[in-house]
């Protein structure tokens, strides 16, 4: 009996492997290092891991290597390269904020002992002993590795595994806030239950599609749709179930209800990390499934997604209007942004002239522009504090423009980018996705998106009004942060300016890397 040895492209997959190995090493550090060295070594390990992964990614990109790898389970194509690169960059920036210790008297935002009951003697004991959970770094790395796989998975099994690998650490991280622990634990539990529920849908959809196509492979599903052996009932039910799982992770209405609670309850650095990295991975992975496996069936899912995009924009933008908590407002704004993104998915597969960005390219640009802004915005949210920790109520931000003009100016600029005002990266992103939708023939969706952009602009501007024209709030001060917070803020804001003024380079890069391998 002859069993062929599986092939595995070690070099091409090295960025992914490095992150996974880095995460495993992090667990070892946790087990073997003396306590006082753990935090620093975790941080060094994290930076080294991500930087090494980025270097390997660039080397691979330069060599032009890629293709369907690891026995057909990973597709390292243009979108996967872009997704990996941006996940690594955003991951590094986002996880850096985890390690901020100057803001809260030398403690991180994570609970001293996450497993203790809030208010119990065990908890105060851990706090007095100044314990800290440095395992948040390997957790985040595991999650990052899951996201990378998710964005490049070429079959449904890999996709599902990646979904779980990226989600499980996030459930834990969400529940670990040092302050307002009950809220945080509730967020973690809610996220876990709803996530598990959506995974079940996903799994069921997978099974149905397997029944329809006889394979988990995305390409094989595409082939099966072209030459069906079964009726479409199995296919449509499968697509719907699969879509529930994917849209849940992206945060599309009506599967968005976890977003506000989890974003508010989770420690703010984790929120920032989730806000972009989860979304980016989920969108790229989801778009890959829709385009590669279900592209031939697009006439049945495009109208549905158009309606969901409309609903998502509407619910996100309108509910954000009434929020008085800055994190909750940003959470609803992220729902609205998911809606704007979906408009481009609807414009899928329209033909574009050579050298222009198609819908995938525009989605990726939007995500990158949004990512830089959102990482910086959540990092700024960690800075504005009162005696009980972060001052998340909007009233606490009143008059910040007078007491801290530079910081408020940066935050106002990020708000303008979210609102899609020109000279910011957000504008070019909106521009790109709207034109993709129009090319797909959905001009009415563009019109709707523009109306909701205006609604959304109102609540972003409200933040600016509060900051610049309100009376300063005496109880609130801007904490003195270390570089761990400032670096993401500065990088995020600078990238937002750069992408607003000179988007050409990134767009050209995307235009050359926007076709999925099949």
């Amino acid at each position: 009996m002859n069993i062929p040895a599986p092939t595995f492209e070690w070099f091409e997959l090295s960025p992914l492997l490095i992150v996974l190995v880095g995460a495993c090493l992090g667990v070892l550090v946790e087990a073997l290092m003396p306590r006082r060295l753990r935090f620093v070594s975790q941080l060094v390990l994290l930076a080294a891991t991500v930087l090494a992964a980025i270097v390997m990614l660039v080397i691979n990109w330069r060599q032009g290597s890629g293709g369907i790898l690891a026995m057909g389970s990973i597709s390292l194509d243009g979108p996967a390269y872009i997704a990996w690169g941006s996940l690594l960059v955003f991951g590094l920036l986002g996880i850096l904020v985890f390690s901020e210790r100057r803001l809260d008297n030398g403690a991180t935002v994570f609970a001293a002992s996450a497993s203790s009951v809030p208010g119990s003697p065990l908890e105060s004991e851990a706090t007095t002993a100044r314990l800290e959970h440095s395992e948040v770094f390997p957790l985040a790395l595991f999650s990052l590795a899951g996201m990378m796989v998710f964005a490049s998975a070429n079959d449904l099994i890999t996709l599902f595994i990646a979904l779980e690998v990226m989600s499980l650490p996030l459930y834990v991280l969400s529940a670990m806030a040092r302050r307002r622990r009950l809220l945080s634990q509730e967020a973690g539990l809610k996220y876990f239950l709803l996530g598990a529920f959506s995974s079940a849908f996903f799994l069921f959809g997978m099974a149905l599609l397997y029944g329809y196509a006889g394979s988990f492979d995305l390409k094989a599903i595409d082939v099966a749709i072209a030459a069906p052996t079964f009726g479409p009932g199995l296919l449509y039910t499968g697509i719907a179930m699969l879509a529930v799982g994917l849209l849940f992770k992206i945060g599309v209405v009506p599967f968005h209800s976890w977003i506000p609670d989890v974003y508010v309850g989770a420690p703010t650095p984790v929120t920032g990390f989730m806000a972009i990295c989860t979304k980016l991975a989920a969108v790229i992975g989801g778009v890959r499934v829709f385009y590669v496996a279900l592209g031939a069936e697009r006439w049945s899912w495009q109208p549905l997604l158009a309606v969901l995009a409309l609903l998502t924009m509407a619910v996100g933008a309108i509910l954000a209007l009434t929020q008085t908590d800055i994190k909750r407002m940003l959470a609803y704004s992220s729902v609205a942004h998911a809606g704007f993104l979906l408009t481009a998915v609807v414009g899928a597969l329209a033909v574009v002239p050579e050298g222009q960005v198609n819908s995938v390219g525009s989605i990726m640009f939007y995500l990158i522009a949004y990512g830089f802004a959102v990482i910086a915005a959540f990092a700024i949210v960690t800075l504005v504090r009162d005696s009980a920790g972060e001052a998340n109520a909007l009233s606490g931000w009143s008059g910040l423009g007078r007491t801290h003009p530079a910081l408020a100016g940066v935050f106002a600029f990020l708000m303008l980018s979210f609102a899609g005002i020109p000279l910011t990266g957000g504008f070019i992103g909106k521009w790109a996705v709207f034109s993709a939708a129009w090319r797909g023939g959905y001009w009415w969706l563009v019109l709707a998106a523009i109306i909701f952009s205006l609604v959304a602009a109102y609540f972003y501007i409200r933040v600016i009004v509060v900051m610049f024209f309100g009376e300063p709030n005496r109880q609130v001060a801007v904490g003195k942060a270390s570089g761990m917070t400032w670096v993401p803020i500065v990088v995020g804001a600078a990238a937002t300016v750069y992408l607003g003024l000179f988007p050409g380079q990134l767009l050209e890069l995307l235009a050359g890397a926007e076709v999925f391998w099949r």
Binding site: G355, Q356, I421, W443, F469, L507
Partner: protein, 503 residues
Amino acid sequence: MSVPWLTVLGLIPLLGAAVLCFPVKEIAKGLGMAFALITAGVAFGVAALYVGGTELAEIAPWIPPFGASWALGLDGMSLMMVLLTVLLVPAVLLAEWKLFDTGAFRWSAQVFFALVLALESLALFVFLADDVLLFYLFFEATLIPMYFLIGGFGGARRSYAAVKFLLFSLAGGLVMLFSVVGLYAESTRLLGRPSFLVSDLAGLGFSPATGMLLMVGFLFAFAIKAPMVPVHTWLPTAAEEGTPGTSVLLVGILDKIGTFGMIKFCLVLFPDASREAGPVMIVLALISILYGAVAAIGSKNLLRLVAYTSVSHFGFMVLGIYTFTTGGMSGTVFYMFNHGFSTAALFLVLGFLISRRGSALVESFGGVQKVAPVLAGTTLVAGLSSLALPGMSSFVSEFMVLAGTWSREPWVAAVAVLGTVLAAVYILLMYQRVMTGPVTDQVREHVTTDLNARERWVMAPLLAVILALGFVPQVALNVIEPTVVATLTQAQISDPAVPFAEK
């Protein structure tokens, strides 16, 4: 092409704004003024080059995947707008020089000067842009400094006024974004490659329905900008709450982008759709003329009054555009220039009066001409310019608009003339209530000084321009007319036969 003069021109004030971001406390105002004057100098140099026939257009790829270019160009109309901008900005800066010594304003002079310079730079680029995306970008970007100028320095309800201004403008801008996105998608389909250059897009031959859809998007934004009834309501609020200087920038410069855009984009890119929209726009223009005038007569607040007169004047400008005659449209472009100066003069001189009295209500005044004769006289001249008295430059432009309208639609001209009559009413009534009559106690108490040297230096150049162009309008019209002729030729519209000459 050696020096990209147009880019340099636009960047100088931006550089000034950047310099003012550094702590230069004592010399901030001087520095700001220096940058404004250098800009004006360069602008006149550019004007000389343009008149001399030098090719000034610049083009460089900017976002190749979108087909967008850094394309700047100058024609007669944009030259007039550039000159208007660079002349009004120093006047505004000088007029607001002492604003900050009173302590009533929360933000510092340095911020004000920086914002004004940033606004000047963005406005210049708006007028120079030859690429639709570039235009859109700067069009929207001007909102941000203006928003802070109103919200940071205005009266008691400044925050409300600023948000109202921003939301109205954003609504227009976003609808225009819809059209720009559509223009991009449709032109890519027709051209086979993306391009935003006005020269590439003109005469593409959109299908009538598409052309109309896209044109309406542009027109909506421009109608909000050039405040036309019924989307004008943000302007009186903004003018009432903003400082007079801010209002000059808003009404004198930024609102011109509306009429400017109607000519440069609506008419050139979508001639058929624009012609079809003509009757609707004429009716809206007439409504604006009359409504603005009547509302001005009824205004209790001086700044609000001037804002409403502008609504009326913008009605005339729009009328000149949508009757499609060479004379009328040249008149409109000239009107855009003149209106900038006459409104600036009126806003600023009333601003000087209001800052003395501490109130902007008409009823707070009476008999000012006895205590401050120069101030009253200046107000009268500025007011007469606003009502288009012969001898003032605004008379020439208003006459051209009406004559052009007459040649196309005599009845429309007859209705529009009512606007000039009402203009006399609102200006003279205001003058009578504020300046003549017995001196009230409050006026005697508060208006203790006449215009001082600084204020005279603000007003003198403005009035000089108004009077000079009133007598030799040909200087400006020679620059304007070729552009208008070219625009109308491109839109394939010919002048109507002279109605009475043929008999």
